[in-house]
């Protein structure tokens, strides 16, 4: 096969494409729309999941977590670790670490005059927690725990009161039929398994985009909870944030090298298996989505090409009679299909890039926010385009598209020239 025969095949294919330009345009539109749907919708779904993941990881786990080796199996006060000291503390204050916070995290029972519910009681340092996980704008009423040092606290009576308070979710407050400023009782078990309880005044109410979160977690001061459950100088977990949640291997080993042998350092993937499963599922889902759209597209593509071949039976017979080999015919049809696919892909890619750029600031889906909140998505959707997804869509369309056109091309190449020439 020389260059000139390829050029001829290419020219023939290109001209054939525009002989019935209406059909070609419709096909281009179909491919373009399909590719747009693949890329754009994938970006939207990525954006949704990304938002959920970011929120979810930000909410508590952090990118990397340190805890007692048995903590994940049995999250009780018995499985706690010492507050960070020495090398670990140095490692935590290293610039590689964005933010870190230690917490006491114990299952507890919260009761008001009318209702009782199970919750997870978090003893936190307000300043560290605001830095790492808690978004102050989520406070809808009252305030978060005061983030003051002990000296500042000693002079500020108002803050002292707030520091002994508790911050609970809006939904939990509704379930307990209580309000900001009222007292509730928190009951839990201390390190000797005896029941300890204490009254707290509600100093703040927060809301969360993550379903169930605000009914589950209540925040109080770390030292207060430590003395309540008898955990002096000990915490349940240390959550650490680095650059990004996807690639946390460097951070993981940085912390793991510095932490004592009796502590286990784990990525959020182990700590929150649900979130990590969601990310994996998303990767698989993107492929399925692209292939499904392509399947719908492929019928149109094959049909168009078969039609083009049927129309030109006599012509193909003539070319073969003049000496064109069947492989040349096949090549011509395949190039025609490839051109069609490439043009469609270009149109689709440009459209999707433009539409993603157009809604870069997010689209408001407040109208269906309630439904979205049920699986943890936000009311504003941001598209997140991953170039690997775009590449995947393009590769799938070209490879499967050419495979689909093999049949019409093979048919065209195997006409008997005599029969073909006599066809009317």
């Amino acid at each position: 096969m020389n260059v000139s025969s390829l050029t001829i095949a290419f020219t023939l294919a290109w001209r054939n494409l525009w002989r019935n330009y209406r059909r070609t345009l419709i096909m281009l539109l179909a491919i373009g729309l399909g590719v747009w749907a693949m890329v754009f919708m994938t970006a939207m779904m990525r954006g949704m999941v990304d938002g959920m993941l970011k929120d979810g990881i930000r909410a508590l786990p952090g990118h990397v977590q340190i805890h007692h080796p048995n903590y994940l199996d049995d999250p009780s006060v018995a499985n706690s670790i010492a507050e960070p000291q020495g090398t670990l503390l140095d490692a935590l204050n290293h610039p590689q670490v964005d933010a870190w916070a230690m917490r006491v995290k114990v299952p507890a029972v919260i009761s008001s005059e009318r209702e009782t519910r199970g919750v997870m009681l978090l003893g936190v340092d307000a300043a560290a927690e605001l830095n790492l996980s808690f978004d102050i704008s989520h406070i809808t009423q009252g305030q978060f725990l005061p983030s003051l040092t002990e000296e500042e606290l000693a002079v500020d009576v108002q803050a002292q009161k707030a520091a002994k308070g508790i911050v609970i979710g809006v939904k939990l407050a509704q379930k307990l039929e209580t309000r900001l400023g009222k007292r509730i009782v928190v009951m839990t078990q201390d390190i000797d398994n005896t029941i300890v309880d204490r009254g707290f005044r509600i100093v703040g109410l927060y809301q969360s985009d993550i379903p169930g979160f605000e009914e589950m977690y209540v925040y109080s001061d770390r030292r207060l909870i430590q003395s309540m459950v008898g955990l002096k100088g000990q915490v349940s977990e240390i959550a650490i944030n680095g650059d990004g949640y996807r690639d946390n291997q460097a951070l993981l080993s940085h912390i793991a090298n510095a932490s004592p042998a009796d502590m286990k350092v784990e990525s959020w993937r182990q700590v929150d298996a649900y979130l990590s499963a969601m990310l994996e599922m998303m990767d698989g889902f993107v492929l399925v989505w692209i292939v499904v759209i392509f399947l719908a597209l492929s019928f149109g593509l094959m049909n168009t090409l078969i039609m083009a071949v049927f129309e030109r039976v006599r012509e193909i017979g003539l070319m073969q009679a003049l000496g064109m080999r069947s492989s040349g015919v096949m090549r011509m049809i395949l190039i025609e299909s490839l051109l069609l696919l490439l043009l469609g892909l270009a149109a689709g890619n440009i459209c999707s890039l433009l539409s993603i750029a157009a809604i870069q600031d997010g689209i408001d889906v407040t109208a269906v926010a309630e439904g979205m909140a049920m699986f943890g998505a936000k009311a504003v959707l941001y598209p997140v385009l991953q170039y690997s997804d775009m590449l995947l869509a393009n590769v799938v369309v070209i490879v499967l598209g050419l495979l689909t056109s093999l049949y019409p091309a093979w048919r065209a190449a195997h006409y008997d020239p005599i029969v073909a020439l006599n066809k009317h």
Binding site: E113, T188, V196, R198, G199
Partner: protein
């Protein structure tokens, strides 16, 4: 102050000598004394618990032993299907034994707010009632006259960090230190539940609220009544009674 008359005299003396400005101290003393009166240094009693619901009612008979305000044991003696069910309270922990499954269960914190043996008394009501003395700010709001008795009305407001959900509790204590009425108010000033002593009789050498009814204000046709048939105070009890092994295998 084990003798009730002595206690009465002492507190009356306090009343007359200190007057109104130390009403708080007196109020606290009244509450303290009423708890002492109710439990004694030690006690042994037989009682019935009647659980009433709109469409059914059941009665359980039981024996109870108490020592100080930290130890108590209650064992069901009738009806037959409940015989042997027992509850032991030691400090702030609570265990229950069910002979049907032959298991001792430590009542976890999550169950402390649930009804004790299906009654309107919560596990907490049973286990921690003496905390009322220290965890509240007591104030005498008025003194009523009822026949030959004086009745002190005391408002008890829980301290800031007290493990109490109520906004306030109002106690009516007769001058012989029997709690006549115990009201539980929520933090919005709404009455939620009331315990009333509908019968007060002298028993074991002191006045005892022999019939106590607990009911929620919202559901007056659901109540639980504790009827004390017999009680002996300040009896010598072996420490062996308040053990887990005795909870499971009664020696007496």
């Amino acid at each position: 102050m084990q003798h009730p008359m002595l206690a009465l005299l002492a507190s009356l003396l306090l009343f007359t000598t200190t007057g109104l400005q130390s009403a708080e101290l007196t109020a606290k003393q009244i509450v303290h004394q009423s708890m002492e009166q109710w439990r004694g240094v030690s006690s042994e009693s037989t009682m019935s618990m009647i659980i009433h619901r709109p469409d059914w009612q059941r009665t359980m008979t039981m024996r109870a032993w108490t020592q100080g305000d930290k130890l108590s044991l209650v064992r069901v003696t009738a009806p037959k299907k409940d015989v042997g069910n027992a509850t032991l309270i030691k400090d702030n922990s609570m265990w229950s034994f069910a002979p049907k499954i032959n298991r001792v269960i430590k009542i976890p914190s999550s169950m402390m707010s649930q009804g004790w043996m299906g009654s309107d008394f919560s596990n907490k009501d049973i286990g921690k009632s003496t905390d009322i003395v220290d965890q509240y700010q007591h104030r005498l709001i008025e003194t009523l006259r009822e026949g030959e008795h004086q009745v002190y009305v005391i408002e008890s407001i829980p301290l800031e960090d007290a493990a109490v959900v109520w906004g306030k509790e109002v106690l009516q204590v007769r001058d012989d230190f029997v709690v006549k009425r115990h009201e539980f108010w929520d933090q919005d000033g709404e009455l939620i539940k009331v315990m009333v002593a509908s019968e007060i009789r002298p028993m074991g050498g002191r006045a005892v609220a022999s019939r106590l009814r607990m009911a929620k204000v919202a559901t007056p046709d659901q109540w639980t009544e504790m009827v004390t048939h017999q009680v002996a105070f300040d009896v010598a009890l072996s420490p062996q009674i308040f053990t887990l092994s005795n909870l499971r295998n009664p020696r007496r």
